[in-house]
């Protein structure tokens, strides 16, 4: 199956089509600047810092922006601003927007394949498989948009003349520490379940494999996801995660990619404003997903309604 969807052959460099005729006569390649994704725009880090992203074998790939705590602050403000509008969109509409993201990702497969192969140290064939799996997973989550309420909601029997409903509502602004060992599939496996229910996210991409995250941001920016619903920061996890965990305007934090030794401290800071915490549980990102991650990031609202009115 994978072979039929293979990208242009020999894309060794990240996402670049093989040299054209003109390159032979000394064309200067136009290198991509990998920046942050905050509020629907691509700013450089406020701190002006950047760091080198490398292949698994240590060879230089590209410079990525190194976000600071002030970028975290800006990203949370952007997420807070965008969240109510995203949550207010109909579930059907959110689903359609997410399908559209999958369409945009499909178009960028060659670029993703190049980046995943380089960052995760995979051969092209495996990388193609991972990228296909990623797009399919996004589609799977998109399908959930108008089904979560049926699965997580209920009509409850009560001893009185009332209807009693429970409906899932988004938690709000969710901070996500993306998995460190799977630059694209792992990333999508934590972003998609958070936003499908109407949350907005601030994501810290895998520290040593940040490039695919920014390419995903480009797919998000060219689909119809409102600016600010997904914000992606690249940089040092140990620098950014504590700021997010302590931030009083963040409602939940997914510690999927937090280094084990940091987890207790992050959970302690998260307790300050009673953030919902999704603890790292050794999820195998390659395995088929379950609805658990989506359900961990919704809150149950129960409504009593008198019968006959």
């Amino acid at each position: 199956m994978a072979e039929q969807r293979i990208p242009p052959s020999g894309s060794e460099a990240i996402g670049r089509i093989p040299p054209s005729g003109s390159e032979a006569v000394g064309r200067i390649p136009v290198a991509k600047t990998y920046k942050l994704f905050i509020g629907g725009t691509f700013p450089r880090s406020e701190s002006g810092r950047s760091y080198a992203a490398t292949r698994r074998n240590g060879d230089f790939l590209a410079n990525a922006a190194q976000a600071s705590r002030k970028d975290v602050r800006d990203a949370v403000v952007a997420a807070r601003k965008a969240q109510p509008g995203w949550a207010a969109a109909t579930a059907y509409n959110r689903g359609q927007v997410l399908y559209r993201v999958a369409e945009m990702m499909e178009l960028r497969r060659p670029q993703f394949v190049g980046e995943v192969a380089a960052a995760d140290g995979l051969d092209i064939e495996t990388a193609v498989h991972v990228v296909d799996e990623t797009v399919d997973r996004w589609v799977w989550y998109a399908g959930w948009a108008d089904k979560i309420a049926q699965v997580a909601g209920s009509s409850n029997p009560v001893a009185g003349p009332y209807f009693n409903f429970t409906v899932p509502e988004p938690t709000g602004v969710v901070a996500v520490i993306a998995p460190q060992d799977s630059s694209l599939l792992g990333l999508v496996s934590v972003i998609a379940p958070a936003i499908v229910s109407g949350n907005a996210v601030v994501v810290v991409a895998a520290q040593e494999r940040p490039l695919a995250a920014i390419t995903l941001a480009e797919a998000l920016a060219t689909s119809d996801v409102p600016g600010g619903v997904v914000n992606i920061l690249t940089g040092v996890t140990a620098e950014l995660a504590p700021v997010l965990a302590a931030h009083m305007d963040v409602n939940a934090i997914d510690l999927a990619g937090a280094p084990g030794e940091m987890v207790p401290a992050l959970e302690r800071s998260a307790a300050d404003n009673v953030k919902r915490v999704v603890r790292p549980d050794g999820t195998d990102w390659a395995a088929s997903p379950t609805p658990d991650r989506m359900l961990a990031l919704v809150e149950a609202k129960t409504v009593w309604h008198p019968v006959g009115i």
Partner: protein, 318 residues
């Protein structure tokens, strides 16, 4: 930046007639708009370090005129605002009170009662705010009502129509009449710079107001966009600086409208320090007219105190 050098005698002569006033105001050096914006922009990039930032956040709070000027204002809302003015952060008694509460004239009695003995002043907009389009008798009655109800400060609007048409003497006599009606209350003259179009006009309106006896010159009503911009405030600060040189009397500046973040407020403080000088860094001579600014200042203050970023959930909804 250009310094305007005039003598008190020049000002007296200028105020004599419409012709002399026009000659004086149009004789003021023109403002280099590009230069003013560039200078304001350059000062905005200055980095303020931690100790200075803490000082600046508190100073900005003490300079704020906490404002509510909506048609939907109620005595209850004004009382809530007054409580906030006296003690901006309910959980931190060390946070200083703001300078004043700014309301419409009919709500002045409520504000005066709520703020009694607190040191927070009551400011009232008057003269048919925000348009000022009423006869002088009506506008003066508006001022009289606010003052007799106990307002310490009166914010008047100038007749922008008359100003733009060049009837400077009319504007001047308005200011003089309102100043007289104010008695002991401080007079702030709103130039509504968003309607004056050019920085040259801002400079002229500023001088005109000061000649008329303004205690403060204020950028805007907050009802017209653009409201306060750094370049406009820069020109006004130059005007009060030059007026102080000429007459030894200190006139304040109030930046109002569109200032929502602590960062903006601190940029204005840099502008004040670098243009008019340190003498103006006091609530007696520089004010912010704002409502949402206070919450952002409190959030930044909390950040400096606790080390983690705060959120709007922890502050009042005004």
């Amino acid at each position: 930046m250009t310094t305007v050098a005039v003598t008190p005698a020049d000002l007296d002569a200028a105020a004599a007639s419409d012709v002399s006033l026009r000659r004086f105001l149009h004789g003021l050096p023109g403002v280099d708009q590009v230069g003013a914006e560039a200078r304001a922009g350059m000062l905005a990039t200055r980095s303020i370090k931690r100790g200075a930032k803490l000082w600046a956040l508190d100073m900005a709070l003490r300079m704020t005129d906490l404002t509510t000027l909506e048609g939907a204002d109620t005595p209850g809302k004004v009382r809530a605002l007054c409580s906030k003015a006296m003690r901006p952060d309910a959980v931190d008694p060390e946070v200083p009170s703001v300078a004043a509460v700014c309301v419409y004239p009919d709500l002045v009695p409520t504000a005066v009662e709520s703020l009694a003995g607190s040191g927070v002043r009551v400011a009232s907009v008057a003269t048919s705010f925000p348009s000022g389009r009423a006869s002088r008798a009506v506008r003066l009655a508006d001022v009289a009502e606010a003052v007799s109800a106990g307002a310490h400060e009166v914010d008047m609007v100038i007749d922008r129509g008359a100003f733009l048409a060049g009837r400077y003497a009319q504007v001047l006599s308005d200011v003089v009449a309102v100043k007289e009606q104010c008695g002991n209350a401080h007079l702030k003259v709103i130039l509504e710079t968003g309607e004056l179009r050019t920085l040259d006009n801002v400079r002229r309106a500023a001088w005109l107001s000061m000649v008329g006896g303004a205690d403060f010159i204020k950028t805007s009503t907050g009802k017209v966009a653009p409201a306060s911009t750094p370049a406009v405030v820069l020109v006004m600060l130059e005007a009060v600086r030059d007026y102080a040189e000429a007459t030894d009397s200190l006139v304040g500046v109030k930046a109002a409208g569109g200032i929502r973040t602590a960062k903006d407020a601190i940029r204005y403080l840099v502008l004040v320090n670098e243009t008019a000088g340190q003498r103006w860094l006091t609530p007696d001579l520089f004010r912010f007219g704002a409502s949402s600014l206070v919450n952002d200042l409190l959030m930044q203050r909390t950040k400096q105190r606790t080390g983690s970023y705060s959120g709007p959930d922890y502050f009042t909804v005004d």
